[in-house]
């Protein structure tokens, strides 16, 4: 008879961020152990709360299945001697495996040939017995970001284990771990004093727990919380800001989430809205609300664990704590507002950026210069705005509020700048200096804000690369990948043209002498990898992306790369186009083995055949046509223009042998090939296409 198997590991409040990984591990280890023990099942599931990790195996038979184990012995020839008696070797092998020579078989081993073998059959055992061995093992295998000891056996786990349920159907599975005996008893909600709960049958676990208000299923709790939040907000005629990260955190901080709706004094709405949101979200894990127009309202939804008894106490408590936090924030905010911006900036001298790389003031000074360089090279930008904003991008780092709420760096700077009378565009540039905050987050809005933000990212990358701090594998302590990705996104999405190699050359020149690793190709390659990621996320094929890399490395104009890529991707499915791409590839392959540099200029006096002349004249025409088209960024037309070369190139390959015996003729033909590849590369390197 099949039955469900249940394992509940009850622990003292485990951190929310540990839980989902533990569930995944439980499933994985259980599947591995079941396979090894030959224990069948229909399905493995896991769920959990801060207080319990739960594993189910659905449809488990009452026994494991028989296993066979094959032992290989000496050569098959050694089974019997000439007189037909078992040899000593055969008898010895059999004895060693606890059997008799009559039970030996012959197996064909791929390496040794025919050998004696013994096939041992291990009968199935009771599922409960198998699980009693498996469970302690998989519990011990669980890994957590941090572990502790708490009892005499000194087992390591995330938090103390206080109970274990292990059952198959109605039967308990007995084992013990960390001084705890497995059984069928657990406890209910903390808020009800953790009353004892007895599970009669593994299949009934979730239902039994729900009856005592423990929603053990993560999924169900998530739906419950979302529904309750929406309901609570709707009752106030508002909408809740449901931040997914915050929702998940609350799901794992509760066994039965209950919404507590409350409000706070309107006077706190004069605080920057980012600050109001942060205090509620990060410090108290509350949800903020907004009206139908998206405006922040002075109502919030806090979450409590368990029951709604004493709801008024909790509401009042939540409000008091929140208002106390707000009062702290106002205390800092008003003190900061009373301070001139220049004072903040002066204090940057005392903040170290990195060894070898000076203080934050040095860094601010570099960013000022890089911003000015960018302003000069982007005629459309208002240099005055950039000049006003750039010196103060880090000034808020020394403000009281940012020291308390580091996540608000930049944003507070924007508020302080605006308070100090800076033009809105400049204050916004400071406020958006760190944008984008993540891969999908908004970018700085204006061109000026974009340039100042690019200056900051450039300095970060240049500073770290120049001191040999290049991210490897999962190690990226300064978030350089995010910075580089942000830089690429700004240039790409805001269509900002910058000569990146020149920019990095300049950024390097501003660094202290000790920061002396200044290879331009390092940031260029690093940025290109981010660009590849962006392009491939847009659905471009890898070979297409590779075809435009050369144009990026040359001038770093990512928006231009995107334009080339777009046209290339559209045209490549065209049959004629893929044919010509193959021809370009062939030309490039011929050049692969040539040592030394080719000029890419062919000499008409050295042409030996009609085919060479025809190709040269086709190239003349195409160069004249495609070159200017590419310059005007009409890449589709330029790529199409290449097709005109196809017939001449085709016949050339058919009739002409490039590697002529005469060195001069050979070199001239190679230069023709070079012309062919140069022609394409000015638009996109077609030889990359697969």
């Amino acid at each position: 008879m099949k039955a469900d198997v249940l394992l509940e590991i009850r622990i003292e409040n485990i951190p929310a961020r540990f839980i989902t990984s533990a569930e995944e591990q439980l499933k994985k280890y259980m599947a591995e152990a079941a396979a090894e023990a030959n224990l069948k099942y229909e399905k493995i599931e896991a769920c959990g709360t801060y207080k319990r990790l739960v594993l189910f195996m659905r449809g488990v038979p009452d026994k494991t299945e028989e296993k066979t184990q094959v032992f290989l012995g000496p050569s098959a020839k050694l089974l019997k001697d000439a007189s037909g008696k078992y040899t000593k070797q055969a008898e010895g092998f059999a004895r060693g495996k606890g059997t008799v020579p009559e039970k030996l078989t012959i197996t064909n081993d791929p390496k040794k040939g025919e050998v004696l073998s013994f096939i041992k059959k291990i009968p199935g055992i009771k599922a409960e017995k198998a699980l009693a061995e498996i469970f302690p093992k998989i519990i011990s295998r669980l890994q957590f970001p941090k572990t502790m000891v708490w009892e005499a056996s000194r087992m390591r786990f995330a938090r103390p284990i206080r109970g274990i349920i292990a059952m198959r159907g109605t039967k308990t599975i007995s084992f013990s771990i960390a001084g705890i005996k497995a059984g069928r008893t657990t406890v209910g909600l903390n808020s009800l004093g953790s009353p004892k709960v007895v599970i009669d049958k593994a299949e009934n676990y979730l239902e039994t727990m729900e009856k005592v208000n423990v929603v053990a299923s993560d999924e169900k709790r998530q739906i419950l919380l979302r529904t309750e939040l929406e309901k609570a907000a709707k009752a106030m005629n508002l909408e809740a800001d449901i931040d997914e990260g915050l929702l998940t955190e609350n799901v794992y901080l509760t066994e039965y989430p209950v919404c507590v709706v409350s409000n706070y004094s309107q006077e706190f709405l004069k605080l920057p809205k980012e600050l109001v949101r942060l205090v509620m979200k990060k410090q108290l894990k509350f949800f903020t609300t907004h009206n139908s127009k998206g405006k922040l309202e002075s109502y919030f939804i806090g979450i409590r664990d368990g029951i709604s008894k004493g709801q008024q106490n909790v509401e009042e408590g939540f409000r008091n704590v929140l208002e106390a936090r707000f009062r702290d924030a106002i205390f800092f905010y008003e003190r900061d507002l009373a301070m001139p911006l220049e004072e903040f900036r002066k204090k940057l001298k005392t903040v170290t950026f990195q060894d070898k790389l000076g203080s934050m003031e040095d860094r601010a000074a570099r960013i000022e210069k890089i911003s000015a360089w960018l302003a000069k090279n982007n005629s459309g930008a208002d240099a005055k705005i950039i000049e006003a904003a750039a010196p103060h991008v880090f000034s808020d780092l020394t403000s009281s509020l940012v020291r308390e709420f580091t996540e608000l760096q930049g944003i507070m700077g924007g508020y302080y700048a605006s308070h100090a009378g800076m033009p809105k565009k400049a204050a916004d540039a400071i406020g958006q200096f760190y944008f984008p905050a993540s891969a999908e987050s908004p970018l700085p809005e204006t061109q000026e804000a974009c340039l100042v933000s690019i200056a900051g990212k450039t300095d970060t990358l240049a500073a770290d690369f120049s001191t040999g701090q290049i991210p490897t594998g999962s190690e990226d302590p300064h978030g350089l990948r995010r910075q580089a990705l942000g830089l690429m996104r700004i240039m790409l999405e805001k269509n900002i043209k910058i000569n990146l190699p020149e920019l990095f050359k300049y950024a390097y020149s501003l660094l202290p002498e000790a920061a002396n690793q200044r290879d331009i190709s390092v940031p260029m390659e690093f940025l290109w990898q981010r660009a590849e990621g962006l392009f491939s996320a847009e659905g471009y094929a890898f070979d297409e992306i590779k075809a435009v890399k050369a144009s990026f490395m040359l001038g770093g104009d990512i928006a231009d790369c995107a334009a080339r890529l777009k046209d290339l991707s559209k045209l490549r499915s065209n049959k004629e186009f893929s044919e010509i791409a193959a021809l370009f590839k062939r030309a490039k392959n011929i050049l692969k083995n040539v040592n030394g540099k080719l000029s890419g200029i062919s000499d008409a006096s050295l042409y030996q055949t009609e085919e060479e002349k025809n190709l040269a004249s086709a190239l003349d025409k195409a160069e004249k046509k495609c070159g200017p088209l590419a310059e005007q960024k009409k890449y589709a037309a330029a790529l199409t223009g290449l097709l005109a070369v196809k017939p001449a190139l085709d016949t050339f390959f058919l009739k002409v042998m490039v590697m002529d015996k005469d060195e001069k003729i050979k070199m001239n033909r190679l230069n023709l090939m070079k012309r062919v590849t140069l022609l394409a590369e000015a638009i996109a390197d077609l030889s990359s296409l697969q």
Binding site: N13, P15, V149, W150, A152
Partner: protein, 289 residues
Amino acid sequence: MNFQDMIIRLNQYWARQGCVLIQPYDLEKGAGTYNPATFFGSLTEKPAAVAYVEPCRRPADARFGENPNRLGKYYQYQVIIKPPKENIQQLYLNSLKAVGIDYSEHDIRWIEDDWESPTLGASGVGWEIWLDGMEVTQFTYFQQMASYDLNPITVEITYGLERLAMFVQKKKTIFEILWNDELTYGDVHSGQEEQFSHYNFEEADVENIRSNFVHWGNEVRKLAKKGYYLPAYDMVMKCSQNFNLLDARGAISVSERASLIKEIRNLARICAGAYVNKDNSPEKENTGK
């Protein structure tokens, strides 16, 4: 419930749980953990159960009595239990009932917060406990003390008495807390925050403190060598407190800060070593890092 009643109730509750009620230690300290009862108490194999009120000083937190929620001097209620009982979380929740808080009518959250003290070379795993969103207690399973791995493990429960009283009495500032039925917390501590703020931030004699620091460090080494770990540890407490004062005075650079912390940690380890050796539990010697 007024402040002094709260302390009486906690004392009664934890005494019933088998705790020895001891009195505060007579030296300045930043937290109840520095009390020798906790420092030495966690290092041996002997079971322990101790509770006490501990006045604490954090010079840099002083705010001239202007901030309603922050003090430079305040009180902790400290409970130490070794080995921890299986129902220790529930025991804590029941202690709230003792001071009039029925946990079933409030929201109690255990928020991950792994405590550590770099100067003591101590660290643990645990939580800060939120009572309707207000942090009122730190609950820690010590893992290391004075850089020694502990065995058995000690649990430390530290109540912020002012926070708890504000909650129980529904007060918005610490100074309004009723100490008894007539006097407020502010009355009892009149002038304290203001005067000590001036001392901590402006008046404390930096040169004198620095030279004391060196002097006491030498004392610790001398005393520990002779096995007088108790007076030696007194000097560690003094060093630690002087470090906090220097910090509040803004007299420590980043690199000096790191080296002073390391020095205090070394001193604490020397004391612990002297104690553990004298206590004659050889297995302890091997667990030191």
